[in-house]
Subunit: 235 residues, 2 copies
DNA sequence: TATATTTGTTAGACTCATCTAACTTTTGTA
DNA sequence: TACAAAAGTTAGATGAGTCTAACAAATATA
């Protein structure tokens, strides 16, 4: 099926909203509009087109769900996005806070041959520069991180595995705290009033907000040691 | 200046029509329409927009000329196109007849950092897989091939340096004759009636049409030996 | 339950890039 | 030079994607 640039963006957004963060199989008009940075009226128009093309299940005033075909297209765009981000960092030497905007464009290049050759060239990477899982050629994503830095209790250690927010300002903030993928974090304390977390990373102690901690995915000490995990860090 | 995908295509086309093949500094509406695969009426609308943006010099019923700004944008798109084609062949293992369509999309990715890093990654290539000169970061193109296989006289030897037509069917035809960039061609004879050329490439003799020979750029024996050239093969 | 708030829909308008059909200007040739 | 052919332009229409403003339905809350 031939999809426009815009239709691809809608399907990718729906995939991220309804499949990736799991536990929620459907999305709403306003939610989707906010995610895409357009107005709800615009989304409403597009929902009719996507329904006509059998890419979503949707009834007036109802919730939005991807069909099998819609999910296939959505995950494919996400796969391309993350492979390109990996290419930009690993092969061209971009920093992780510079790649998202460029990958937003590259993900729409239409050539299945290209993306499979790129995957091979990168030696079939499993994670992108933000720690996000790259769907394989079949659209499968085995790991789904669920536990955030804000879920940790003082005294615990954990390892940062991914970021939820891919925006340059957030990523630069992360860097400024001395954090990166695979860094070990020790949670020192949590302020009961404003939920400020004191954390230690490679000897450096910082205070971070709840909002910040919500955007850092971590795995527990069991996961770090390769043991079975009680919390379900990997989904 | 922010240019749309379409505006970029018009500027690239004008650059190719009025700068690359030289000796002709301006283009016409129909000519441009044919090159872009749209109708003259469509071109006419766009000419007004490009004039408003000061990217072309143009008066009603007059000829079309790129301004300095228009030329800068046009050559930049061409540079991107050829760098991406080179990337696809050299790094990803595409064949030369598979890259043009994909590069038509990639040339519109907006990121000057990307293109400069790609250039470096490829080690600043001078020619793309079709032998076309890649403009440098300043938009300069030193060599301009001008002499075609059809300009050769029987008995002469020459070397294929580039192709004019980048379409897959033509490139596949070139391959079928056993020809490729840097191959030496011996012109055996030219039929006076229909201009059919008999050529020999690596021991293989073939007959090719005038149309075919017009689309193969060559350099003469002097150029092959690094001597001064009388014909002006390199522009 | 009644009402306020949130969520979602519709109507009408705009821009961009494209088309067809009809028209005008320029050019080339008899 | 006259006129036919070629080249170029205009008017009006379409479809995609977006918006604002007004409206309707669903949900939350008092
Ligand atoms: Mn990203
Ligand atoms: Mn990412
Ligand atoms: Mn090409
Ligand atoms: Mn080329």
């Amino acid at each position: 099926m031939v999809l426009s640039y815009t239709e691809e963006n809608y399907l990718k957004a729906l995939f991220q909203l309804t499949r990736e963060t799991l536990e929620k199989k459907e999305a709403g008009t306003n939610e989707l509009a906010a995610h895409l940075g357009v107005k709800p009226a615009t989304v409403n128009d597009m929902l009719k087109k996507l329904k006509d093309k059998k890419l979503i299940d949707y009834e007036k005033y109802g919730k939005i769900k991807l069909t099998k075909a819609g999910e296939k297209s959505g995950v494919e765009v996400l796969r391309k996005h993350r492979l390109w981000e990996t290419f930009l960092c690993v092969k061209l030497g971009f920093a992780w806070d510079e790649v998202h905007e460029v990958a937003e464009q590259l993900e729409h290049i239409q050539s299945s041959k290209l993306i499979e050759k790129l995957d091979k060239f990168l030696d079939y990477p499993e994670f992108d520069p933000h720690g996000d899982v790259i769907p394989n050629a079949k659209g499968e994503m085995k790991i789904k991180y669920k536990v955030c830095l804000s879920d940790m209790t003082p005294g615990e250690r954990c390892m940062m595995v991914a970021v939820k927010d891919n925006s340059a300002p957030f990523l630069q903030y992360v860097i400024s705290v001395g954090l990166g993928i695979n860094n070990v974090i020790k949670v020192i304390s949590r302020n009961a009033y404003d939920e400020l977390l004191q954390i230690e990373v490679e000897g450096k102690v910082s205070s971070v907000s709840r909002k910040f901690a919500d955007n850092i995915f971590v795995v527990c000490q069991d996961c770090m040691k390769g043991k079975k995990c009680k919390k379900g860090c990997k989904g």
